[in-house]
């Protein structure tokens, strides 16, 4: 029933307590948290640093702006609406296209302008933000997902999570939504996590609810054939977030746009531990290797180092 803790330690599995004390506590200065907890700020600093993010269309800060929403949306077919300080994907509305006066969601549901106004009103009143603080709604362009993921995702946004430790990409996985996860890419809600080889971007293992799977439960495609394109570019994108955020322990969520390539979707100062299960690898060993590295390497050198040392196959 219980794993032997000494075996876990030997495998270098990172536990919650150690993550909190030795990684988040030691490397993430709390004053930089707002940069990642506030998506608008993240987007701003990323854009200023030349890091690719989905393009910001508009921010909505006051309820009174809702009266002009119709004019605001003229000429915009697909868009994403999200609370700037939401967490865990709460309150995100994805409109893929418009038909007349109706807005079509990713799952085919049809909304009217009124519904969207109500959603924004909820965001502004702080329904989705931590502690119920009043929030800002961020309107950004719809990511046109690279069709490579179509086979591995059901009704949702597949994204790549890379954990960047002291600027080095340490471990990565692809999170595929399933019908069970309701289109969300959260592993504990039933999304499939696919461990990715840092050297190549090829799939290593796939797990759902902590147990191994070989095929996507909804689409039936074999995960072993999966290989992420633009892999080095993705790692460079992820690693470059270190300089921008000053956070030594960072989860970077990346999506692939058909036209624009990899884009940073979100940053996370407290990335979870499930990524280890998807990679069947303890992450502490890699962190230890990174700890021995000198600090002043640039982004490409760091990515090269990671690709060289953390490959699996």
């Amino acid at each position: 029933m219980f794993a032997n803790p000494f075996k876990l330690k030997k495998l270098g599995i990172l536990g919650m307590n150690k993550r909190n004390i030795h990684y988040i506590g030691a490397h993430n200065d709390r004053k930089y948290y707002p940069l990642v907890d506030n998506k608008l700020k993240t987007k701003m600093i990323a854009q200023n640093a030349g890091i690719a993010v989905p393009k910001l269309i508009k921010t909505i800060e006051r309820q009174s702006q809702l009266r002009h929403l119709k004019e605001m949306l003229i000429g915009i077919d697909g868009f994403v609406l999200k609370p700037s300080q939401g967490s865990g994907g709460k309150g995100i509305l994805v409109i893929v296209k418009r038909e007349g006066d109706e807005f079509i969601k990713a799952n085919g549901q049809r909304l009217e302008l009124r519904d969207i106004q109500r959603d924004i009103s909820n965001i502004l009143s702080g329904l989705y933000s931590l502690g119920g603080k009043p929030d800002v709604a961020v309107l950004e362009t719809l990511v046109e997902f690279d069709p490579i993921f179509d086979r591995y995702s059901y009704e949702g946004v597949p994204d790549i999570r890379v954990i960047v430790y002291k600027g080095y990409p340490a471990i990565a996985m692809l999170r595929c939504s399933t019908s069970e996860s309701d289109g969300k890419a959260n592993l504990h809600q039933g999304a499939v996590g696919v461990g990715l080889d840092i050297a190549t971007g090829k799939a290593l293992f796939a797990v759902q609810h902590g147990s191994p799977v070989t095929h996507h439960p909804d689409t039936g495609y074999d995960f072993s054939e999966l290989e992420i394109p633009h892999w080095e570019k993705i790692l460079i994108l992820a690693a470059s977030c270190y300089e921008v955020t000053h956070l030594g322990y960072l989860g970077v969520d990346i999506v692939l746009d058909k036209n624009l390539g990899p884009l940073i979707l979100e940053l996370n100062a407290r990335p979870g531990l499930a990524i280890q299960i998807a990679n069947k690898t303890g992450v502490v060993k890699r962190y230890d290797v990174i700890d021995k590295q000198q600090a002043n390497l640039d982004v490409t050198e760091r990515v090269k180092f990671s690709m060289k040392h953390f490959g699996m196959k």
Binding site: L8, R118, H188, Q276
Partner: protein
């Protein structure tokens, strides 16, 4: 490394300070540590009833004297309209009530509280001044003289010293099939067994006296004092119960009256009667400490919580338990990895459980939160703003609570009335959080966190309602430093949680 050293240093000095002060209080000042040193305090009440005859009445009652091994904590007199004084007579202290004109039935009360003193029993100093008029066998009528002599000689053969002599004699009188001699003495002596035995002892030049007292046992009402013999062996007085034989101190015998005077004398009234009642209650040592004014022993105790007014003391009885509840939360969250809804919500729920009792509390909690969730799910469809929604949920909680109280009171389930001890703001937030959790993460997560919270609350309840914990928490608040040290220590624990041993199980296989 230096941070680790700091933590160790702080932990060590906090724990050391805490333990040192406790050691000082216990080891040097002699304050009892363990809560099972709760002691029985007995309230002995004497009730004197009589009927007045429209005459002045004078009531005099023998009063107990301080005695070794048993300490008198307090005395209390209730006698409306009577003058009360205490008089010192040759045979001891007496209580005296007086009133000019008394008619009709009257009752006077006198009560004392006593408790058994701990420690070694110091025997009484030899009472050399005790005089006893000499009596000889020749005082007896001829018919009984030989019988008595034979009995005494017989007992003498079976005994070694004064004590065994007295014990054997009492045994003879108590035997199921008494000997012929005993039967004759009892039948023809014309006196009570008590008188005959003491007379027989006196014939052998043994100092003997009669005392009255009562066994400090559980609750008794309307009892009379038990007469006993006290026999002097040249060094100390030994008690003998006429029914049970030798009485040692651990039998909890409280001597009310020594010697010959009558227990009660009533002049100017009729139908006088005295009866005693006995009440036992377990009193924590600190109460006795207070009474004994041990507090004055040391300046350290001036900072004790006992110096506060009683109502504040009671508040601290609860407040001082919260850190122990917090310790449970810390342990279960960091070492076990239970997830709870709200960090200290379980502690507050546990505090409520202490008032409601565990099972009733659990049932009420689940009912309130369950009903709240149903109503909250409707409120969520109204799209209210956060503050208004929480307030609405809180009002709903209050309504549910009052409805439960009224309904159960009508049904005669009194336990439910304690529902008011639940902190309603916390309940409202719990409902709100659970309901958001339900919408966003599904019912499973609600049960994980709700169940986790309840498990932590139950553990915290067991720790906080433990009499040992609550007593040492209150008697030695400085132990909070040790709790603090423990929490700081656990706060630096970077090993695996128990739940992670399950979570990462597949990695080892």
């Amino acid at each position: 490394m230096s941070r680790r050293f700091q933590v160790l240093l702080i932990t060590f000095s906090l724990a050391f300070t805490g333990f040192f002060i406790v050691w000082y209080k216990v080891g040097v000042l002699g304050i009892p540590f363990l809560p099972h040193e709760k002691r029985a305090v007995y309230k002995i009440g004497a009730e004197i009833s009589f009927e007045g005859k429209n005459k002045p009445v004078l009531v005099s009652m023998a009063l107990p004297e301080p005695q070794e091994g048993i300490q008198i904590l307090s005395e209390d007199v209730a006698s409306s309209g009577f003058g009360y004084t205490e008089a010192q007579t040759e045979t001891g202290k007496r209580a005296e009530w007086s009133k000019r004109n008394v008619a009709g039935p009257q009752i006077l009360y006198y009560s004392i509280e006593v408790f058994m003193e701990p420690g070694e029993y110091k025997p009484k100093l030899p009472l050399l001044a005790y005089e006893q008029k000499t009596e000889t066998l020749s005082d007896l009528p001829d018919t009984l003289r030989n019988t008595a002599k034979n009995l005494l000689d017989d007992v003498r053969l079976r005994s070694a010293d004064i004590h065994s002599f007295a014990a054997q004699l009492i045994n003879d009188f108590n035997a199921k099939e008494p000997s012929q001699a005993v039967k004759i003495l009892l039948a023809q002596g014309g006196e009570s067994k008590f008188e005959i035995i003491s007379r027989l002892l006196r014939y052998r030049k043994i100092l003997v006296r009669k005392i009255h007292g009562l066994y400090l046992e559980s609750e008794r009402r309307n009892i009379a004092l038990t007469p006993m013999l006290e026999v002097y062996d040249g060094r100390k007085w030994q008690l003998y119960d006429l029914k049970k034989g030798k009485v040692t101190r651990d039998k909890n015998f409280f001597i009310w009256q020594h010697g010959g005077d009558s227990l009660i004398e009533v002049t100017g009234a009729k139908k006088s009667h005295i009866s005693f009642s006995l009440n036992e209650r377990q009193v924590p040592v600190e109460y006795l400490l207070e009474k004994q004014e041990l507090l004055k022993k040391a300046a350290v105790l001036d900072f004790s919580l006992f110096t506060l007014p009683v109502s504040e003391q009671n508040a601290y009885r609860h407040i001082l338990l919260v850190p122990f509840g917090a310790l449970v939360v810390v342990l279960l969250r960091i070492l076990v990895g239970l997830r709870t809804s709200g960090t200290f919500m379980p502690v507050l729920i546990a505090l409520a459980f202490m008032e409601t009792t565990l099972v009733a509390g659990l049932i009420m909690f689940i009912l309130i939160v369950g009903m709240g969730l149903i109503i909250r799910s409707y409120l969520s469809s109204l799209n209210l703003l956060l503050v208004a929604r929480i307030s609405a949920v809180m009002i709903v909680v209050i309504l549910i609570m009052s409805f439960m109280s009224i309904l159960s009171f009508k049904l005669g389930i009194k336990e439910v009335l304690t529902v008011t001890f639940f902190p309603m703001i916390i309940l409202a937030w719990t409902i709100e959080r659970m309901s958001i959790l339900w919408e966003e993460e599904g019912a499973k997560e609600v049960f994980i966190q709700g169940g986790g919270s309840l498990i932590v609350a139950v553990f915290a309840y067991f720790v906080m309602s433990d009499t040992f914990v609550s007593l040492i928490a209150f008697n030695f608040p400085v132990l909070l430093l040790v709790v603090l040290a423990g929490i700081i220590m656990v706060g630096r624990y970077s090993g695996y949680r128990l739940s992670e041993l399950i979570r990462f199980r597949s990695m080892v296989e």
